[in-house]
């Protein structure tokens, strides 16, 4: 079986892979919520949450650093918190002079910035572990279980199904272009403007193909009786062990968060 290079799922048979997707989805969301609600500067709680994330990564048999590295992708977004370094009142750390302005970094500002960066990094790890150990169809079932609207789940499902088809199509288009991008002199082709037009044409081509495919898919759905309403089989019931795990996980995360809010 081949997995598409875009598919974050990594096959395995660890305890984390075997866990019911509903439990994983709810606990992941709860974990992210717990991280978000932990106050700035509650460093020991961060360490505990990070340790939990790493422990889960080890349990998933993907390796302790699997999620640590991939979660760094969230860092550029955390830079949105950069202004807080200078806007929070408190003891001055250092000043920057830019033209007429003077920006003064403060202690609480630094604490806030580091907390935001750390929190986004830890939260991201939960999402990465969730998608690496859960097949997307199971995740869709889990979304249905936590009452995400059916139509939305159906749209996610179709998007997932055809994302790969469309990406493969785009790759084929690019290859066809590259195969015909020979040059007699060995130097690069024509102007950037011309190349931009070719790329624009390809994007349009891809859109038209996607549009036509959409019509064919609708015909295939209608041919099997689709009437505009999204239907699905009822959900299988959750094993009692899994329910216990879910409750245990939620209680632990709530305790950690409350501890953080109390002590800091």
């Amino acid at each position: 079986m081949h997995y598409h290079f875009l598919d974050p799922y990594r096959p395995g048979d660890s305890v984390l892979h075997a866990l019911d997707a509903r439990v994983k989805l709810i606990l992941s969301v709860a974990f992210i919520l717990a991280v978000a609600l932990t106050p700035a500067g509650a460093w020991p709680i961060y360490v505990l949450l990070l340790a939990l994330a790493v422990a889960l990564a080890v349990a998933s048999e993907l390796g302790a650093t699997y999620a640590l590295k991939r979660a760094l992708i969230a860092l550029p977004f955390a830079l949105a918190a950069l202004p807080s370094l200078f806007t929070l009142p408190g003891a001055a750390l250092f000043s920057l002079h830019i033209g007429h302005w003077t920006l003064t970094a403060t202690g609480p500002g630094l604490e806030r910035l580091l907390s935001v960066v750390l929190k986004s990094w830890i939260s991201m790890q939960a999402a990465i572990l969730l998608t690496a150990t859960t097949q997307f169809p199971d995740l869709l079932v889990a979304m249905r279980a936590i009452k995400v609207p059916r139509l939305l789940v159906a749209i996610f499902g179709l998007m997932w199904r055809y994302l790969f088809v469309l990406v493969d199509e785009a790759i084929r288009l690019t290859r066809a272009r590259d195969a015909r991008s020979g040059s007699l002199t060995g130097r690069g082709g024509r102007s950037a403007w011309w190349r931009a037009r070719v790329t624009g044409g390809m994007a349009g081509n891809l859109f038209l193909r996607g549009y036509e495919r959409g019509e064919r898919i609708y015909a295939a759905m209608a041919a099997r009786g689709y009437d505009g309403e999204v239907r699905a089989f009822p959900l299988p019931s959750l094993a009692s062990g899994q329910v216990a795990l879910l409750i245990g996980g939620l209680v632990s995360l709530a305790t950690l968060t409350l501890l953080g809010i109390w002590l800091w």
């Binding site: 079986m1 081949h2 997995y3 598409h4 097949q135 997307f136 169809p137 869709l140 499902g157 179709l158 997932w160 199904r161 055809y162 790969f164 088809v165 495919r213 064919r216 898919i217 015909a219 295939a220 759905m221 209608a222 041919a223 099997r224 009786g225 689709y226 009437d227 239907r231 699905a232 089989f233 009822p234």
Partner: protein, 243 residues
């Protein structure tokens, strides 16, 4: 409604034009009896796929169309639902046919919309997958399958609906010789009335006793496959060749 059990498909003077004015079918008449296996051949753009989309009311042209004893020339919603349960339409590209997250969801789609009891729907899925030799594939994800596997599952998606009539568009396109051979063997085991549109003349020879040639939206020949495949002049005139 009068039930005609002998004629599974009864088309009289069917014409259809696409919204851009291009005529795709002109006065097509075709009768297919229950249990028959008919090949529909013709060059690209002859109207084969367009004709197939009329068989379960996805497209509606001018003329008489009766399928599985139902008049679908001016169908009501109820008639459309019934004809779609009776006609299993397998599209050319299995990526269009398999639109669900997993193989199970795809095969269960038809039974679910037929509002069968859940246990029956489950049984139908298992039976359909067993029929096409794809047991154990229920939990698989469609984009991880090979083209041959996708084609088989695509056929299972309609077999699960227990149709009286199977309509296949280019079933062997894109298959390697081994997958093609095993697909033809599979089709040979199916009891349903079969209408197959194809460019694969060896498939025609192996599977269908009767052949219909469609060209420029018109039926230009209709007869025993052996006779038609031996008429080289006729085949060449319509962009076809002998197997």
């Amino acid at each position: 409604m009068v039930q005609k059990t002998t004629q599974e498909i009864l088309i009289e003077n069917l014409s259809f034009s696409y919204p851009d004015g291009q005529a795709a079918l002109r006065e097509v008449s075709l009768q297919v009896a229950a249990g028959e296996r008919v090949a529909l051949v013709g060059p690209n753009g002859a109207g084969k796929s367009t004709l197939m989309l009329h068989l379960n009311g996805i497209l509606q042209g001018d003329g008489q169309v009766r399928v599985a004893g139902l008049d679908i020339s001016q169908p009501s919603d109820g008639v459309l639902r019934r004809v779609r349960a009776a006609v299993g339409l397998v599209f050319q590209n299995p990526d269009d046919q398999l639109f669900s997250p997993t193989v199970f969801d795809d095969v269960a789609f038809g039974p679910l919309y037929m509002e069968l009891p859940l246990e029956e729907a489950h049984r139908r899925v298992e039976r359909a997958l067993a029929w096409v030799g794809m047991e154990g594939y229920a939990r698989r994800v469609s984009h991880h399958l090979s083209t041959g596997e996708k084609k088989r599952i695509a056929i299972a998606t309609v077999l699960a609906m227990d149709p009286r009539l199977l309509v296949l568009d280019e079933p062997t396109a894109g298959l390697d010789p081994r997958a093609r051979r095993s697909l033809i063997e599979l089709l040979n085991t199916l009891p349903q009335t079969l209408l197959v549109s194809t460019h694969d003349m060896r498939l025609v020879q192996d599977l269908c006793p009767r052949t219909v040639i469609l060209d420029k939206g018109e039926v230009v020949a209709d007869g025993p496959t052996e006779e038609i495949l031996n008429d080289e002049v006729l085949l060449h005139a319509h962009g076809l060749e002998r197997p």
